[in-house]
Symmetry: C2
């Protein structure tokens, strides 16, 4: 176990002063002191080699991404990060892997004042399990079940680039472009923490989630939880330059069903439109209004003339093949 | 993913009313409302098949143990459980495994009012990663660095039976006895939550941890963190009936270096002796005074006449072979 104690030390750093951490790594538990009157937000994600990332994936990017996908869950709730735990199974203690992994992990943690407070290291197939803790004011959480018919539907940033990067890496026949222009969108997703917190503090913003499995699929989670439907104006979808070289079918698939985007999909009362744009500006993150919620269940994709698109019937199954 | 959504539903239960859970499984994050003025205690442990449990281990016991070892960390801090997350990698969605695993997990969770609030399920080599959250009053935590020279050293319950169970299962040559009498001490450890909370509320109780790697090894963590040494009266160690059939060497090895005990090892001012015994009675857990802390570093094992035992020099390396 000496080898693994060495690894554990690799991940043991003093918690930054002034934060919520009363006691960090090294005891039976970490101790956190949340801000009085706040609720705690908690999320866990597990990444397994060969399933969530390629064997041999670049460890610095992996360290970033493992924490980013967890922070993205805090962002989607509107919570401010307090800290995280890391449980790590490794086939061997390989410094050449550990050092860049820790570098990528801690760079993102430091950028969001989210210290590592505890965890576990063991020998096993490469598996990264992170639990993040955040805090927010009661009633401020952006829940999936809070959307209302009539709400406007918004998306942060742009979707589809991570899916294009995956396709370029896999040399899928429909993919066009340079991997380098979109690779970071797959390997180093940006958790929209500042935007999530700004939206949680904005009256009239109702529901949110982070898009990890594709815009339409994740939208379905909000619609189901809230008992509403949605119309999306396809011309309103923000399109990254890298996607404009694609044929229309693959482009729409990337935009609507790509996955791994970690953008925030959220709903807000029409009266909050200016406040939402202002929240986006304060957070430094673009936000685009892409549709609205309806009493009628289901998702309707509308073309520029407001007609329902036959594309919806195709089921966005390019990627199933 | 339909298969894994099925599994996820297997682990989705409504949070009990009246607890800390504002929002349970199903959104980007769970939301918890800790008691005002309390601190949060957090711990993560990961169990990997083939390393922490045998391939083919009985899934109900495994569900119990995976949560028990985490709850034991809360107990060692003196915290009251609020909830836990479960990240689970599984080679396949096998109902014959999942149902008993969930039964063992939830039976223990329910017994301690510690609901599952979130998590992640994925395909991969069998890996169980649990993070528990608890709460306690500021200043009450039983930290490893709080022991003082002159403190009396205490242990809950009895150590060594889990190690004997492992030896009987492995048919190690020194092992004697019936596996059935000690098996539950290995497979279904009891987290000493009531005792930990009672001790945390007892003035004069200073440091604590849970014994997972053997009494002497874990005591070393307290001594190092607190800058003290210890004397242990070997005759004061509580000995389970199952261990009395062993030769003296293996018996002491089990008692002092067995591991997997999940008993609380703690220190308290001599003036707190009666209060400690009272805390044990209130918690329904036996506590035994086994030694005291010294200014001199290191651990000295004393025989009935108070002489330092030569056994210490052997290094307790039976298990290393």
């Amino acid at each position: 176990m000496g080898e693994f104690e060495l690894i554990a030390r690799h991940f043991t750093r003093a918690a930054p002063p002034g934060g919520a951490v009363v006691l960090g790594v090294g005891d039976d538990c970490a101790l956190l002191q949340p801000t009085p009157g706040h609720q705690l937000a908690v999320s866990s994600d597990m990444l397994v080699e060969g399933r969530h990332f390629f064997a041999g994936a670049e460890p610095e990017a992996l360290g970033h991404k493992a924490l980013a996908v967890n922070l993205s869950d805090l962002a989607a709730m509107g919570a401010r990060p307090l800290g995280f735990t890391l449980a790590l199974a490794l086939p061997a203690a390989d410094e050449a892997w550990l050092a860049p992994f820790a570098r990528g992990l801690f760079a993102l943690a430091d950028a969001h004042a989210c210290p590592l407070v505890g965890g576990d290291t063991t020998r096993g197939p490469l598996t990264i399990s992170i639990t993040v803790f955040g805090e927010l004011l009661p009633g401020h959480a952006l829940r999936r079940d809070a959307a209302r018919a009539g709400d406007e539907l918004w998306i942060s940033g742009r979707t589809g680039e991570a899916r294009l990067a995956l396709a370029l890496r896999r040399r899928e026949p429909w993919a066009r472009g340079e991997l380098a222009t979109v690779q970071d969108r797959m390997d180093r997703p940006t958790p929209r923490l500042a935007l999530g917190q700004a939206l949680a503090a904005t009256a009239g913003v109702h529901a949110a989630l982070d898009v990890s499995d594709g815009l339409l699929g994740d939208l379905g989670h909000i619609l189901k939880a809230s008992g509403v439907g949605a119309e999306i104006g396809m011309n309103a979808l923000p399109v990254a330059p890298a996607l404009s070289a694609l044929d229309e079918g693959p482009r729409l698939d990337c935009l609507l069903a790509g996955g791994d985007d970690y953008e925030l999909l959220f709903t807000a009362d029409a009266s909050a439109r200016k406040a939402v744009l202002s929240a986006g500006r304060r957070a430094g993150t673009a936000v685009a209004r892409i549709g609205r919620l309806t009493r009628t269940p289901g998702i309707r994709l509308l073309d520029a003339a407001g007609r329902e698109s036959p594309l919806a019937a195709r089921g966005f199954d390019h990627f199933a093949n």
